[in-house]
């Protein structure tokens, strides 16, 4: 028996990752299609054309030009600033494997997004194992991340935020490796992934800043650290070199292009966001926007573990701040490598959190842009569990702890099943039914394809006239249907009153409470509402 359990423990990480892969492969077709996917696909072809022209690859140039011209975008103004780390490989795969059927193209992209996520989880395991040196804790951290519904719901269709999330974790892993051994190999990997992080999302730029900041603090603590300045210079040199090399956007005018990108960040995303029952300009949301979203859409167990873990960590560094200069043989904020890693994570978290609240040019789509903050939630949750395990401080409450934890995990898993495939719109039990109505639901437009499939089943007419009563490009989903269903659907663009059905995912580009744009003619009556856990995903109106 002991042999079996020790073998299970030995191979537990393989079991976990194989299980996750099988689950992903089994369910990846269940998810809807994100409104931004056509845009990111277009971005991939744009850069493939650019690169194939540069390297004289005629076949790629011709096929990608054709594909780019047939791509339509809707929500985001066109921009060439998007990094290439996901979109370019996706475009190459599409051409290499001659994937031409629209639904197959998006399924391939969903699978690729999942593999990026899988890579991120593998590195999360490595990072947690590196820090806490406990296989079970590291695996439990990965498990907590996977069962975070808002993350689980995104791992197939949100190529942008999930890719950034994974690259972010890999970057932090190489920082940890650099702390363990400050050699050229680790520094180069750290700089490479820091640069990819920056090109994927501009927040990535905070990582090199914090790296320099931590180095400055170490010099302030111990003068001998000055000898490591060459490593910082080396890191910065490779960081800028890799940033330039892998981001074609910078090739022609690097400095000017970079600053133009940073100064034009606010062009992305919608103008309005529905938050707490009111419509806000996305540039003028209250400072409470992000904390409230995190609080209402993160599982309660994660929140409890995170707050306790963060409290312990905060307390530790606050005490160290008040005791600087007392122990001259140690660094001011850390006494060993693990504390240095924790300090880096602590400063990084505070910087991201404060910057996200006060300096972010826009807030929209819930908090999907900041989903990478889930890394910190998991890190501090595991930090707490490590203290719990190491110091046995709460051992007398062990049974209560295990019972409560298991119950909350089971509830969480149940919610993942309940919401499937709309886990992206999960709310925890801290928020009432009425309050859920006051926040955005299907901002990614995942329900469009389900609605079209459903309506073609319900209505047998040869032509089904459909109009959209929200800010959503339903016509994009039409091409994903089989041809016999696609031809039966007629999307009405000009006059909604001519439609038989109206579809709405309740996402609006105007203040729907004041504007007449989405006011319905009295002949339309509610036909169906698709509600999951009191969250309205979409609604259908039918003409009487």
């Amino acid at each position: 028996m002991k042999t079996i359990s020790s073998k299970l423990l030995k191979y537990s990480h393989y079991i976990f990752f194989i299980g996750l892969t099988i689950t992903g492969l089994y369910i990846y077709k269940d998810f809807g299609f994100n409104v931004d996917e056509t845009f990111t696909r277009k971005s991939g072809f744009y850069w493939l054309i650019y690169l194939s022209e540069f390297f004289n690859l005629e076949r790629f140039f011709e096929v990608s030009s054709l594909k780019l011209n047939s791509s339509d975008d809707f929500t985001i103004p066109w921009s060439e600033t998007y990094g290439i780390i996901f979109d370019l490989p996706a475009a190459i795969i599409e051409i290499l494997f001659s994937i031409n059927e629209p639904i197959k193209i998006y399924e391939m992209r969903h699978l690729l997004t999942f593999f990026y996520f899988l890579l991120g989880v593998i590195f999360l395991y490595k990072i947690l194992f590196n820090r806490f040196n406990n296989k079970l804790l590291a695996l439990f951290g990965c498990f907590l991340l996977v069962i975070t519904p808002r993350i689980f719901g995104e791992i197939f269709h949100n190529s942008k935020d999930i890719t950034f999330f994974s690259i972010f974790i890999i970057t932090l892993y190489f920082y940890f490796k650099t702390v363990d051994k400050e050699n050229i190999k680790n520094l180069i990997f750290f700089s490479l992934f820091s640069s990819i992080c920056t090109s994927t999302r501009i927040f990535g730029i905070i990582i090199p800043i914090i790296f320099i900041f931590i180095y400055t603090l170490s010099v302030l603590s111990q003068k001998k650290e000055i000898k490591n300045l060459k490593n910082v210079i080396l890191y910065l040199f490779f960081y800028f070199l890799f940033l330039y090399l892998h981001w074609p956007y910078l090739w022609e005018e690097p400095v000017q292009s970079f600053f133009s990108y940073v100064s034009n960040l606010s062009i992305f995303g919608p103008e309005l966001v529905y938050f707490f029952g009111k419509f806000y300009n996305t540039k003028l949301v209250p400072f409470s926007y992000l904390p409230i979203w995190i609080f209402i859409s993160t599982p309660i167990l994660h929140l409890i573990f995170f707050f306790i873990g963060f409290y312990f960590n905060f307390n530790l560094f606050l005490n160290k701040l008040f005791q600087t200069d007392k122990n001259k043989s140690e660094y001011d904020f850390w006494k060993d490598r693990n504390e240095k890693k924790d300090f880096f994570i602590f400063i990084l978290f505070l910087s991201f959190f404060v910057a996200a609240i006060f300096l972010s040019p826009k807030h929209y789509n819930g908090w999907r842009i900041f989903y990478f903050l889930n890394f910190f939630i998991i890190y501090y949750a595991v930090f707490f569990l490590n203290i719990f395990n190491k110091y046995k401080i709460i051992r007398k409450y062990f049974i209560i702890f295990i019972f409560t934890g298991s119950t909350l995990i089971l509830i969480n898993i149940y919610k993942i099943f309940l919401y499937h495939p709309y886990q992206s719109y999960y709310f925890n039990d801290l928020i009432s039914k009425n309050l859920k109505e006051k926040f955005e639901g299907d901002f990614a437009g995942l329900s469009g394809i389900k609605f079209l499939r459903e309506i073609t089943e319900i209505d047998n007419s040869p032509k089904i006239k459909i109009a959209v009563n929200s800010w959503y490009p339903l016509w994009r989903m039409q091409e994903l249907l089989p041809i016999y269903k696609k031809d039966r659907i007629q999307i009405i663009f000009d006059n909604k009153d001519n439609a038989k059905y109206l579809y709405s995912n309740r996402i609006y580009d105007v203040d729907a409470k004041k504007s007449k744009k989405y006011k319905l003619n009295s002949s339309f009556k509610i036909y169906k509402r698709y509600i999951v856990d009191d969250v309205v995903i979409y609604e259908i109106y039918k003409k009487n």
Partner: protein, 85 residues
């Protein structure tokens, strides 16, 4: 020197937070009010409200009460007198 740098950092952080939680908070609230006031939807709402008010007034038999009628009549006569004399 080191302690001075740490203290300066803390002061900077507190100043940054203080600035955003006071000045920037007020500025953002004012900007939000201005945005709401001048938004297309608000203008539309105001126009509709004005239309409704005019319609309500037009439904009434007497627009002005007797006292106001006398007052206005006297005022107009006085103005006329001053202009033509």
């Amino acid at each position: 020197m080191k302690i001075f740098i740490y203290k300066s950092l803390i002061v900077f952080i507190l100043f940054f937070l203080g600035f955003h939680l006071t000045f920037n908070y007020v500025q953002r609230s004012i900007e939000r009010k201005l945005y709401n006031l001048t938004s297309q939807e608000n203008i539309e709402t105001l126009k509709n409200s004005a239309r409704n008010s005019i319609n309500e007034i037009l439904k009434k038999d007497d627009l002005i009460n007797t006292d106001d009628e006398i007052l206005l009549k006297t005022l107009i006569e006085k103005i006329k007198k001053e202009i033509y004399n």
